[in-house]
């Protein structure tokens, strides 16, 4: 177990080295979300806006580091060597970043609860956050294994997220994954959760299938 944990730690250090400063972007987004929750006075900041901050500022960046990691496979001269290793280790890589993201979500939820009280945060919101983290992580990994380009993949994610948050999910004719109103357990919310979960599963299979198929054209 000690060896395992040490190797996980070494992999995080390695990711930090390969990514450089971009490694810290999700941490900056976490800090920004935390500051907004803690420092903005209650009266200027509708309580539910804080939930939107967690959904729209922190969670979309949960895919960031994993996408950068997978993008290393598609750099020139690396595919044939790294694809077999990365595809075999995808589960471990996914899990280590998932745990970090969930810790981030729970810290932000704790800050929220400390400021506004326990009754302000619904369990449905917490479940939704976890599913959203899964969604973004698999959305990011699917894009990177399909497009094989980090810039285009990140652009798609950022455009989707910004448009959703800015229009509060009311403008674009595509599936809306955020909750912009305090959740009430009704058929509408149930439908949203089911669709989100099905999408997560579909994206997971897309990643697992296509991660092994990097540039398999014969030469």
């Amino acid at each position: 177990m000690r060896d395992y944990l040490e190797s996980i730690y070494a992999t995080f250090l390695f990711d930090r080295k390969t990514m450089g400063l971009t490694f810290f972007v999700p941490i900056v987004m976490f800090g920004l979300s935390l500051l907004l929750i803690l420092l903005v006075p209650r009266e200027q900041n509708g309580i539910y806006n804080n939930i939107i901050i967690i959904q729209g500022v922190f969670i979309p960046f949960s895919c960031w580091c994993l996408m950068y990691r997978l993008s290393e496979m598609y750099e020139e001269g690396a595919q044939e060597t790294l694809v077999p290793y990365y595809s075999k280790r995808f589960g471990i890589d996914f899990f280590r970043y998932f745990i970090i993201n969930i810790i981030g979500v729970f810290l932000l939820c704790t800050a929220f609860v400390v400021k506004y009280g326990m009754s302000s945060l619904s369990a449905l919101n917490v479940i939704h956050f976890i599913i959203l983290v899964l969604f973004y992580m698999f959305f990011g990994t699917s894009l990177i294994v399909l497009i094989k380009n980090i810039e285009i993949s990140l652009t798609i994610i950022i455009i989707y997220t910004v448009l959703e948050v800015v229009t509060l999910g009311e403008f674009m004719p595509w599936p809306h994954i955020f909750l912009f109103q305090p959740p009430v357990w009704d058929p509408f919310l149930l439908r949203k959760f089911v669709i989100l979960l099905i999408t997560v599963i579909a994206l997971m299979f897309t990643t697992v299938i296509f991660i092994r198929r990097a540039d398999r054209k014969p030469q």
């Binding site: 060896d3 395992y4 040490e6 190797s7 070494a10 992999t11 390695f14 080295k17 390969t18 450089g20 290393e72 750099e75 020139e76 001269g77 690396a78 595919q79 044939e80 060597t81 790294l82 694809v83 077999p84 290793y85 990365y86 075999k88 280790r89 398999r216 054209k217 014969p218 030469q219």
Partner: protein, 287 residues
Amino acid sequence: MIRVSGVKKRFRKYQILSDVTLEMEGIYGLVGPNGAGKTTLMKILSSLISLDEGIIEINGENYVKGRYVKANHLIGYLPQDFMVYPQISVVETLDHIAIMQGMLNKKERARAIREAIDKVNLAGHENKKMMELSGGMRKRVGIAQLLMRKPSILIFDEPTAGLDIEERIRFRNLLKNLGSEHTVIISSHIVEDIEFLCTKIGILKSGRVLFEGTPAELKAHAEGYVWEYHVSPEELDYIMVEKEVIQLLEEEDGVNVRVFAKEGEEGAKQVAPRLIDGYLAVVRGVN
């Protein structure tokens, strides 16, 4: 030994490999012109791409499962352009790859890295960044990462492509050394790459096997087809245009020109064929 039997591969409307059957052992050279299907076959063996039909046996056991060869633990593949983690040092790159190979114990990793670095003569370069290495050194890092997982078969795709003469010689010696402990398969379109190195040779052209045998058997295909002319530098231009020149050798009083032809003309003397002559004879269907 790897026995490849009846392997076929089609990509869209192109038949890349047609019923390829080979027996690879020792230090094996797979040669052929560009587009012959060599890299495709190497990638099939390394389970990077699928095959449509055929059997791949390693020491008598068929390793084709579904449409892929599942022998990653036995086969290590070094692609033509090996480059990973340009900003990271050699030792950090190898350490990370060792973790991905399943070596979780730090001491075990350090030992494996040391051994691999020594084997490929990279000592003294461990702390250089990958992007600071020459092409030959990068390839040696590629071999080092393969050696750490101890495969019994090593596959090299165009191993000397892009290397300067000195690196080419060094790399050839390294391949020779590796051949004493592993089955080594070298794919190349340059016959000189495999000369004096391989114990067995296969020739592919347009996805078909034209020849398989020892270097001596390959040379025998050109028996009677290689002629040597001794000409002055002034005559050289003419002969270069008129004849199929294989090799030039400068002498004090002129140039010795080796020519591939059915019959020699006046002044030509028949000489013993070299590997390249045998290759040309087979590829052109002369014999």
